[in-house]
Symmetry: D2
Subunit: 330 residues, 4 copies
């Protein structure tokens, strides 16, 4: 169940403090130019390093283990990984008895019956998005000349992101953020209705990213308050260009050739310095928890490149499906 | 690509004005009580009949063609269908040259190269959700004692739905709506991180429903403006009960035992009586379109039971997966 | 689990004595000429009617319920079905307490816990291959100009099939048969190593047909006794033509442009007039069983067209996958 | 397409002379005892080292990169790999212009358009079965107490394997072999008819192994010459035990509780010292090829453990599916 996509298929593996993390990509066409250097741009964007993201250095240099020969994809499965430098520590074992509010501590205990790796969040760590970003960089090659770009619109409800982050850092708190993503140059005709619509494919991928709690396309939630005469986008050219884009570039689950536009709600990171109430499972009573160490105050700062990856993966898969069944577009 | 789910697998077929529509369900456990009568409740809710929904009578009586013997599922695939009474008409052929704004007319032309059935929307018709509702009624049996309930919160931004609909009916316009869905009694531990999280599974299913343009879980988009200290739900019992539910019952992509809560934005129906501007493909110039006939003024009225079906399908699939890999829960 | 294929996806449904049987086909390209008449040829070949096949008339006329408009596929899912005329009878209920040797009576009891439909074999009936044959007729359109042809080489070990059948008919017994299938005109390059090799895809489909107990490609089992210098097929042209075909047209799991050749072992039908020993579950002791009625003496007579369908389905799926990932062949 | 299984899902990666090879396993239940040592037994059997297998030492020590904590599976994906010591060499580049008969040289050229890695067979190397063997060792834990054992019955048609190998070694030739595999203790009820029958699942996995050209279950090809009265296995106990096993433990695609028995034909290795005729693509004419170096004279010697792995993988997947839909067996 750990695989995204139907033809361009992406699986990730690893734990935050285990030996390493990585990604296995199947269904990648041969002949694409792929090398470690081209992956570093997106990897660096994911790592962040700005104020509000954790200062802990992650050694993220990718090793391409298979599927590439002399800088070109061979058609065989691609496996790309990176080694971890953080080692498993006992610091995290206490969270199995005192689960952190908002974290997966409690549910992993219930689901995996005590077998899950708790260190650094284990398989649930945001670190696992490294593989999605790497796969996204390759998906971008498949959907060319389409371009996918995301940016942070606001943090904590404030478009002045930096000042908002300064504030919560002082408070030992964290904040959420709102990210907008635009895929431009996407041809009309992608998407398989009903059950692999563009929205289904993209939302499935986007909600694989930890901390995402909402997604909307085009006018999104505003559409619930709109009239048809306002929401319908007038078609103004023979190839389907519209004068407005309330549909977010998607009609009936199929791309219509206009920009695909979506917005994503990122929740505030759960790890905060402020004391919190939670249940102590060992003592079987309420307890007070204070989480030590440095943490991301605003994970939304790092999320745009991951959203780009998720959207690119979905579009790459739909592109290959379209090629298979309809012989391509245009 | 026309299949939802990995073990409890649902595929729909049919066209609005073809011989019939239906659903094929695979992976349904034997021994469930299934008969036509128990399906009628949800089928009737989907049909609507209230003010603001189309008065056109649809003959929706289900025939169980396979997979059930003497009112009990056999373990073989279930096929359930209903015959159409509306016949294919030439009324719709004009929309292939004068595509309706907001409709799939233009994109189906581009994707299917003129081969798609245009009558009544063909495979893109909202009528195809009949099969999802039927499958949803069966999924409810699998996720018992969990219960899934949805309701319309507002239409056109107004909680006084009836008066809002009266208004747009007079104007020959349509309106969108906001639907909330709550799944109660869901055990902790459902969901397969990263790539088949509860949010991924549910959003994938929900966005298979035409007219949905946004989804959010728990606090959803408000989370983007919240602080961690506000958003984190304090755990107040040994089994993971929380005092607030900003997470919408899901942590790290896994159900946490609290209510799963989501809201969905439904766009206004695209077919309105008001004249609209669009491109005339035959004349290759802008044109004025007036759509005749009766249409739903507010499809959101019919959507709650379809959302319930989509959510039930996702939870049923995750339930069976959980049973496979973890030997069930509790 | 009731679906064959990854892009060209085929699912069957129905029970032998239920309301009807049929097939749902997803991933069928738009623009193919499809109508009931073109399906009848293969349907008739499957029905048999020769000596040695059951005289029971099956009403097999296909109804195309969805996915076709004016004789051309639309790109939407195809559902094609036929009604049954045999009704569920209590004749079969005794086989749940006195399981027929060689039949699925005993295992369905164990697997489905008494819920399976026993009439006429229910979902396990050979009648279910009707849907595979119908889907195969459509797959043939996708793999054009490749041609798939199968024929019965021998029955009961005798190449004089008719005299062999006469003999077992007199004895109230049944016989197996050996079928050879050749797919000619298949382009080089189909097949996805390792896990969706041509042999994997074909054998998976072929073993979905009841009564098949063996498959071999090219020299097959003889290869186990051969030397490399004998088995290696010398390449004699720039496009990979070989002077012998011990590989059966497949190297490393990939089609090599020569004929794909396979042979299939069909076991004798289990239903025979001769008395047999079996366990009486009700009495919990050994018992004697005599099966009444008319039965196929040699199911292998009907199998060739079903093998053709299975091979065509596998090749159609590999063709679409190849188009998706490698942009087609040639 | 590089994934085997539906719930217990196995994907391999790597090239013979690339940085490393490995396997990604998804759907592995938590709580299983897994460590490098327990994998070494099957890995060693695969490596061979007997007369007739290549003397080239492969460094095969497994590294468990993810999914295991303190010797116990966590429920997260398992990635297990090993580093290669053989480096890519230009020795193999000549086979792209002078394709070896019986090898994948010609078809990979046609399929991958020159991008495939030719060194040591690249992704097509038998070395890739390392990952299947590792996954098989884990599958054995899931299907406990079932046991899967395979052995070489004959090589080159001779049950005196060693003398036969001595002979072909002297001749610079190679030989095929016949392998039998028995899965004992398999409960009745595994297998999903029609399209994921036990035979379909096992044959799909087995034909993923290079060099396999035939498979038969129970009496297999002999069944084609048998009568029903001979082939039907009399049921002699309440739990379905039979006095003969012509069905190979499978009725109607479902395990019947008796031993699952299958035989597999392994073709002779294609690489032989003897000179061979083939097409020289560069010169566009027939040519003489002599392959240097040491090669396996009889790959069938190494195949039994790989067959065991393939069968175990198929049974593990069917076991988990059965648990999901039917709540397990017994």
């Amino acid at each position: 169940m750990n695989t995204l996509g139907k033809i361009f298929r992406v699986s990730v593996f690893g734990e935050s403090h285990g030996p390493g993390i990585g990604v296995l990509i199947d269904g990648c066409p041969p002949g694409l130019d792929i090398n470690s250097e081209m992956l570093l741009g997106d990897i660096d964007r994911r790592r962040g390093g700005e104020k509000g993201t954790t200062a802990r250095k992650e050694y993220d240099v990718p090793e391409i283990v298979s599927g590439v020969l002399k800088g070109v994809s061979t058609g065989a499965p691609l496996m790309i990984m990176t080694r971890n430098t953080n080692k498993r520590s006992s610091d995290y074992s206490k969270f199995t008895s005192i689960p952190r509010p908002g974290h997966a501590d409690m549910v992993t205990r219930q689901k995996y019956k005590g077998y899950a790796d708790p260190s650094g969040g284990g398989y649930f760590s945001g670190r696992l998005t490294w593989g999605m970003v790497v796969a996204g960089a390759i998906a971008r090659l498949i959907i060319k000349p389409s371009k996918v770009r995301a940016r942070l619109l606001s943090a904590g409800g404030n478009t002045d992101v930096d000042s908002e982050i300064d504030k919560v850092l002082r408070e030992g708190d964290s904040i959420g953020g709102l990210v907008e993503c635009v895929a431009s140059g996407v041809p009309a005709g992608l998407g398989e209705p009903l059950y692999y619509s563009v929205e289904s494919a993209i939302s499935h991928a986007v909600f694989s990213i930890p901390a995402i709690k909402g997604i909307e396309f085009g006018s999104g939630f505003r559409a619930a308050s709109m009239k048809g005469s306002e929401h319908n986008d007038p078609i103004i050219s023979r190839n389907g260009r519209t004068s407005t884009n309330n549909a977010g570039g998607i009609n009936g689950g199929i791309s219509n050739g206009n920009d695909i536009v979506l917005r994503v709600a990122v929740k505030p990171p759960s790890s905060i310095s402020k004391t919190q109430k939670t249940w102590n499972i060992e003592k079987d009573e309420m307890d007070i928890l204070k989480i030590e160490g440095r943490h991301d105050a605003c994970i939304a700062l790092r999320v745009p490149v991951i959203i780009e990856a998720a959207v690119s993966l979905a579009l790459a898969d739909l592109t290959l499906i379209n090629r298979a069944i309809y012989g391509g577009i245009g």
